[in-house]
Amino acid sequence: MIKQYTTPIIALLVLVAGFSLHSCSDVLNQAPDGKITLEEVFQDDEKVAAYLNSCYLYIPAEGKNYFFWMRGPVDWSDEAWDTDAEAESWITSGQLYSGNVSASSHFNTQWAENGNGNYWVRMWTAIRKCSVFLANIDEATVKSEANRSRWKAEAHLLRAYYYSILLRFFGCPLPIMDEPKGYADDFSGTERSSYYDVVQFIIQDCNAALSSPELPWRITSGHEAYRFTKAVAEGIKSRMSLYAASPLYNEGGNYWEEAYQVSKSALSNLLANGYALYDKVNYSSWNNNPDVHLPNDGAKLFNEYFCNNMGFETNPTDKETIYQTSAGQDWIMTEGIGAVMGYKSGSCPSQEIVDCFETIDGQPILDLAKPYLDEVTHLKPNFNPNNTLYDEQNPYENRDPRFYASIYYNGSLRTCYWIFDETTESVENYPAKKGYRTRVVATWEGEPQTGRHPTTRKATRTGYFLRKFLHPNSGQEVVTAAHARAKVLRLGEVYLNLAEAAAEAGHTQEAYNAVNTIRRRVGMPDLPQGLSKDQLILRIRNERRVELAFEAHRYFDVRRWHKPNEDLEKTDRWITAAKITRNDDGTYTYNRGPVSRERLCYQNKFLWFPIPMNDVNIMLALTGENWQNPGW
């Protein structure tokens, strides 16, 4: 009997053994899938370069890529009102305007796009990567010592840049991480640094970068596009030393002289290395093109500067831009009056920013020391009595050329493909069919296409549309022109940094020189000599507001200029609109009014973003100290 079983039993046992027990450990070992160790990275020339390459990936795109195609700090300042605040009220601006943010629920951690947002996590990740690179680069296997020197310089500079972003948004509850930390380290002894010390650390990193003979001043080949240069180091130093000296951050110290020296040497080094203001019209799209509807070369060059990408060549057309972010800025159809596809207006320039543009004779419109008699609600402008050119009922005549390059206003013209047929209500434009044509941008109350509307996403909230970054050729039926990439560091800013620091430090003539250089390039007259220090500083601040409008400076500037006994009520609470009535005789009556409600984000806690609640709780548990920014 047994015999007849033997064969199948043995067969089955072999089968069982074969598929189950044979080489147990082998079958459970993971097949190679390309994972490597950190040690291996720094033992290979190409992987070392690859590691540095990854350190670059954390640079925020800025521009209009904050979230859902919006301009972030531009919309959070008194420069503009975001139409998404009503249309998509649960995201960034809507949350902020209604004060609907807290340490555990903040748009910055909820909505992130293109590296804009979630800075607390993103920047610390980036900083650690740079520190890891710097800790390993000296011993790493690198074939060319020139590369080693340049790469090391770039890592220092990237770390400086990332720290500067943290400082701008979070103020200074920051530790300095000069060496990479392990996640399992003991953090109980961690100490907060002062703002000044962090800026010194940033400057050290910049100086380390500048000391490398291999780091170039300018990227001269498209292959190396968007890599950091010595110019970036100078730009960061200039900006952050200015911040450190500013009232909010100086902690009673006077660092203006230091800031002045840093910006002075930054400017001279930049000029010596081929950087220069963009000072003439270069492109045929602007030059002699009636369809750009700009009154003079000052306006044209200013508009075209922002609408074109910098070139990476030895002698580029644009010598002003120090750093432009690499991320694309998407199609213009998603923003402003260029929203020919009907998407949204986004940032609508405020009446406040419009009031800042002087008349062509160099006179401010308002008294800069007290621009509004009702300082909070801004409905009663305090006009500059010396200004004779400004007409309240004809307000857009005779203005600074940069006004025309930056803003579409009631009565301005735009030639593009308009996607709608005009109706009888569009008095200025009726009759006209959908198509390529010149249209009067009419923003009076009730204008059906470009008039003000309180909630519609594509309408203007303020009576103005943003123009500064809008290419005149963008109005094709099938949109092909993208926004130029965001210029986040440019020589113009360094001039203004210098002007401010010099004025504050008492180097009056150098302050005049710097600010006048900026004014001359667009054809504005010099500032009058003999201003008092305070007057000069007010004029320089106003110049900064006009020149750097919508470039995400204002939000940070009003904060660093902040005085301890005040809150942000004068600037950030009420934003006004031009409420324009079209009279039967075809004339317009200009009034001012609030855009809608007050913004509930003017208390002092809004000086900084809150640190995400979890991290604050962890740090409290570890160090016994509250690391949260005040008020959150």
Partner: protein, 1057 residues
């Protein structure tokens, strides 16, 4: 329990009478007749009568009588029948033998499918429930997993993700949840882990067993901690071929539909919301008047009056877009035929099924579109299970189960990432958000545009918001056809090794599953239009919204995957007098390819079982699983998971043996360890995930970068569940049966992401090594009750009910405590999984709402996140610092996993009629629904019924019922997660009912039909969810704009030949 009146006589055994020809073997052969009845004198149908020592026999007929020819006069007849004690009767020359069979309580439920085998019910010491497929067949669900809802104690099956055809997967919790990671039970189909429970045809299934405690599941080792579902398919039985045909036609609609406001009501609500926010009203009285009376100003005597009136009504409509977009009754067809039978050598079960399921979206006809974008599913299932007895000691079997499924829907290519669910969500969302004042959905003639072209009604919805129109999404972008095919195959050999030692058996099986899927997509881009109505001039203008060339192109995609399973098993089963022992030892290897771009998975394991039974009174069982998973580092690769259990059948003790009241009583207890290797989709967590990837600049490392991902934990291991279970099985008299189980589980070593490390150290928290730190405790109980009563000869009543409770608590989640200024120091530790946190509304202060008076109080609390207006929620300042902020958040509700799950069915048979009704419920679970589907602020306002009684000053002063805070046009303080929006989802459904009629047998004999039954049934007929505030939503669906559940009515027939 169809022992007396087998309505579905699928289990009836029919032995072929092979020996009718054996004349002359015995000299004295007689024909024996008789009646077999039960103790109450009722005739028993289908009793097997066999001559001992031969295969000769018969069964009793409809009247309980049998005839057995050629019976040796000295033979012994064996009478056997399910649920009774077998009897042996000597013929002794008699020609009439009437006998009474006595019920055998032990045999009531014959056998139970357990892990890798079957056990007699009486011997089971673990916690196991099973469900018969007859019950599931009443369900119209396309997936068995959904049909299981409420039918098994301890198993919660929910359609959290909704019911889109082809994507109606159930979320299953067995005894709730006890881990932060995957909670899905292991599902075995014919002994192999398989994931096609959604598609298996209920007609193929013999039984479903649910294994709950450690004793039942420890043999599964690292895969068993979440419990196990074992699906066993049908096999053929010796007997003449039986053909069964089932045809069902059904109609389905969504269980809940929002009652959207009409045009005039909408405009008033919207105005109110805008005014509350400080805006001008959007609709002037003149515009509202246009919609109230669109025909105003028309002259009835005008010869063109009719035409003009129609146009006005089109321009100032009162559209119910839900009605325009959602189909009310869509058809579903289910056809199935199966055949089974066999001889001593070969038995077979063959099944073929076809299911057609229509969708509930109204797409345009193929005549207009030239293609069909409708939602529909067609599924063809085939199965062939064949057993072959090669010799007396060797048998072989081959199981082949396949399906082909075609799921058609509109083209999702226009959605972000081509997401199919997004498409459905977008459609439902838009169906709610398009305004009733928007004309559409097609253009009309006479205004310079072609007629019946797509019109974008979102134009008015969102102003100039160029989003996708649902009419476009549903119809005009093309279609998508997903085809999936699947083969489950297993080949096995069973050797009976009685020759070595009696009761020894060796089994081997190899399984191969293959799956393929392909996508055929017709892409279309079509111009659509917008309408602009000017209420001042009554002018209508059209313009192009999106201009496209009407081109059509195809795209394709495909993928495949496989699963191999190999297993060998040695079994021993033998009785020695009063001692019975059984043992099992097995080895298994699994490897599969997940279909994604991933390395194949590998699992290796052994398992064993030993049981001992003394005199059917004392039972003991020891089980173990020993598995290795490649997920873990070599040092931590293999785990050993033992369990032990005991049982005592008290009713077999002499003092209870003949007790008429307590007819059966058993106590059970078990303890053991089981593992869970589900790690949230991560693999190889013991290794650092550092790879070469993409970088920033092409000038560095040729564009390469180094991606630093999740860091490895060298000692990563599986979760361990320590499970305790005690249970009682009982029968009272002859009618009532029951089972009660209590369980407790301590899950430790749960893999989690650290939460006590600061972000600024620089390694992103989600890349910090996962650690085995988590601990969760889970406890609960289950009760099953049954009642069966043959009231009269014609009337049979049955009740089945189950009630389950589970409650989990997180003991450690690596949480850092908050400081003392917080109302609650922890938000995870000590709370159940999925606990919601939010602001607590003070319902005692003016009903929960601010008024002008209370807002004017200078000492009132302020909100850190905005300023309330009258009618906004009053939140409690729990820490008493005068400011409502994060620190005042409190636990709300009990988490999203239902604590209670219950079901109860009643059935009755009377003569040819039968009726069945089944209620199912879930209780104690909460979820937040935010924004779309619940808020009033969406786009230009969506107003569901509970918004219509929002807080207004007038309503408040009059003391009217208020169901919602003041309306807003934007998200405000009200829309923070709070005790209003954390909804209580308790629900009870009339899940199924069925009325059937079985035709008298004689009436159909001429057609060759042995059995024919007609039925009418319903599914999800009624749903009660009294505490669920957004009553327009189905409380079972997690997604407020997901594809909802459906109510289905069906009629059909089962025919047996």
């Amino acid at each position: 329990m169809k022992k007396r009146f087998p309505l579905h006589s699928g289990k009836r055994l029919m032995f072929l009478i092979l020996c009718l020809y054996s004349f002359g073997v015995f000299a004295q052969n007689v024909t024996v007749r008789g009646l077999v009845s039960d103790t109450q004198g009722e005739p028993l149908i289908g009793v097997t009568v066999r001559i001992e020592g031969t295969s000769q026999g018969t069964i009793t007929g409809m009247d309980g009588r049998y005839v057995l020819a050629n019976t040796p006069s000295d033979a012994t007849l064996l009478f056997s029948y399910v649920g009774t004690k077998p009897q042996a009767v000597k013929v002794n020359g008699r020609t009439t033998i009437n006998i009474t069979l006595v019920e055998d309580v032990e045999m009531l439920e014959d056998v139970v499918v357990v892990a890798y085998g079957v056990q007699k019910k009486v011997a089971v010491t673990g916690a196991i429930s099973s469900v018969s497929t007859d019950e599931l067949r009443v369900s119209s669900s396309a997936s068995i997993a959904n049909a299981l809802a409420g039918r098994v104690a301890g198993l919660t099956s929910m359609q959290r993700a909704g019911g889109r055809p082809g994507a109606d997967d159930a979320t299953m919790y067995l005894r709730g949840a006890a881990t932060l990671n995957g909670v899905t039970p292991l599902i075995l189909i014919d002994g192999v882990p398989r994931d096609n429970i959604r598609t298996i045809d209920v007609n193929e299934v013999e039984s479903i067993s649910v294994l709950k405690d450690a004793s039942a599941t420890s043999v599964f080792g690292v895969r068993g901690a979440n419990g196990v579902l074992i699906i066993t398919t049908k096999r053929g039985k010796v007997g003449k071929p039986e053909l069964s045909v089932n045809v069902t036609q059904s109609y389905s609609r969504l269980t809940r539909e929002p009652d959207m406001p009409g045009s005039v009501e909408y405009m008033h609500l919207r105005n109110q919301a805008l005014v509350n926010d400080g805006f001008e009203p959007a609709f002037t009285p003149e515009v509202i008047a246009k919609f109230e009376n669109p025909l105003a100003g028309l002259d009835p005597n005008d010869p063109d009056y009719e035409e003009k009136a129609a146009l006005r009504k089109w321009m100032y409509p009162d559209n119910d877009w839900y009605d325009i977009l959602i189909a009310r009754w869509s058809p579903q067809t289910n056809v199935n035929a199966n055949m089974s039978g066999g001889t001593d050598k070969i038995t077979y079960f063959l099944n073929v099924g076809y299911l057609h399921q229509g969708g509930n979206m109204k797409t345009l006809s193929e005549d207009i579109l030239k293609y069909d974008p409708s939602f529909k599913l067609d599924r063809y299932t085939f199965r062939s299970n064949v057993d072959y007895n090669v010799t007396k000691w060797l048998s072989a079997y081959l199981n082949l189960g396949t399906y082909i499924e075609k799921v058609n829907m509109p083209n999702p290519g226009v959605m972000y990432g081509g997401d199919r669910n997004w498409l459905v969500r977008d459609m439902l969302y838009q169906a709610q958000a398009i305004l009733p004042i928007s004309p559409g959905p097609l253009t009309i003639a006479g205004f310079g545009v072609p007629a019946n072209k797509p019109l974008d009604p979102t134009y008015l919805t969102s102003g100039h918001y160029a989003d996708r129109s649902p009419v476009m999404i549903m119809n005009w972008y093309g279609y998508n056809l997903d085809t999936r095919s699947n083969l489950n195959s297993s080949f096995g050999l069973n050797f009976k090794l009685d020759a070595i030692t009696e009761g020894l058996e060796l089994r081997g099986m190899i399984s191969y599953d293959a799956r393929g899927n392909s996508m055929t997509r017709g892409n279309m881009r079509q111009t659509d239009y917008q309408a602009f109505v000017d209420p001042e001039t009554d002018e209508l203008t059209f313009s192009v919204h999106e201009l496209h060339q009407d081109n059509f192109w195809m795209s394709y995609g495909q993928g495949s995957r496989y699963n191999m399973n190999l297993q060998g098993q040695l079994l021993y089963n033998r009785a020695f007098g009063k001692h019975s022992v059984a043992g099992m030892l097995r080895a298994e290897r699994d490897y599969w390819d997940s279909g994604g771009a991933a390395i194949p998975f590998n699992v290796l394991g052994m398992a064993g079982r030993a049981t001992y039974d003394f005199d059917s009174r004392y039972f003991a069982e020891v089980d173990f699983g020993y598995n290795g998973s490649e997920q873990f580092a070599p040092v931590k690769r293999f785990g050993f998971f033992p369990s032990a259990s005991v049982g005592w059948v008290i009713s077999n003790e002499s003092f209870l043996l003949d007790n008429p009241l307590i007819t059966f009583l058993k106590l059970r207890g078990s303890y053991g360890k089981v593992g869970n290797d589900q790690q949230g989709g991560y693999r190889f967590l013991y290794q650092d995930d550092i790879r070469v990837g993409g970088g920033f600049s092409g000038s560095l490392a040729a564009g390469k970068g180094i991606n630093e991902g999740l860091l490895g934990n060298k000692v990563i291991t599986w979760e361990t569940a320590n499970k305790y279970n005690v249970g009682v099985d009982f029968s009272i008299a002859t009618d009532i049966t029951g089972q009660v189980d209590f369980f407790k589980e301590h899950r430790s070593d749960i893999l989690l992401q650290r939460a006590s490390i600061p972000v600024w150290q620089g390694t992103p928290l989600n890349y910090i090594p996962r650690v085995n730190m988590g601990e969760v405790e889970n406890r609960g109980y289950e009760i099953e009750l049954g009642y069966n009563k043959q009231v009269t000869r014609d009337l049979f009543l049955q009740f089945k009910g189950q009630f389950s409770y589970n409650r989990n608590k997180r003991l450690n989640v690596d949480e850092v405590p908050r400081d003392d200024t917080y109302a609650y120091k922890y938000r995870g530790t000590g709370y159940p999984l999925g606990q919601n946190w939010g602001y607590v509304i003070d319902w005692d202060q003016d009903g929960g709402y601010w008024t002008e008076e209370t807002l004017a109080d200078p000492d009132r609390v302020t909100y850190a996140f905005g300023t309330p207006i009258p009618g906004d929620f009053v939140y409690k300042d729990l820490n008493g610092d005068g400011i409502v902020d994060d620190k005042d958040q409190a636990p709300i509700g009990v988490g999203h996993i239902p604590r209670y799950s219950f079901g109860a069915s009643f059935s009755a048979h009377w003569k040819g009629f039968d009726a069945y009704i089944f209620f199912q419920g879930l209780a104690k679970f909460n979820s937040t629904f935010a924004h779309q589907g619940t808020y009033e602020t969406v786009l230009r306002g969506t107003y569901f019924p509970y918004h219509k009684q929002s807080w207004t000053k007038e309503r408040w002063e009059k003391g009217e019922k208020i169901t919602y805070p003041a309306l807003h046009s934007q998200t405000t303080v009200n829309h923070r997660t709070n005790s209003f929006f954390v909804f209580d989802r308790d629900l009870v459904r009339l899940k199924n009912f069925e009325i059937g009629y079985t035709l008298p047998k004689n009436s159909l004999k001429v057609l060759g039909v042995s059995d024919m039954r007609l039925f009418f049934n319903g599914q999800n007929v009624l749903t009660w969810s009294p505490k669920f505030r957004p009553y327009h939503l189905d409380p079972e669906n997690d997604d407020s704009i997901g594809y909802p559940q459906t109510t289905i009515f069906s009629f059909g027939t089962n025919i047996k030949f």
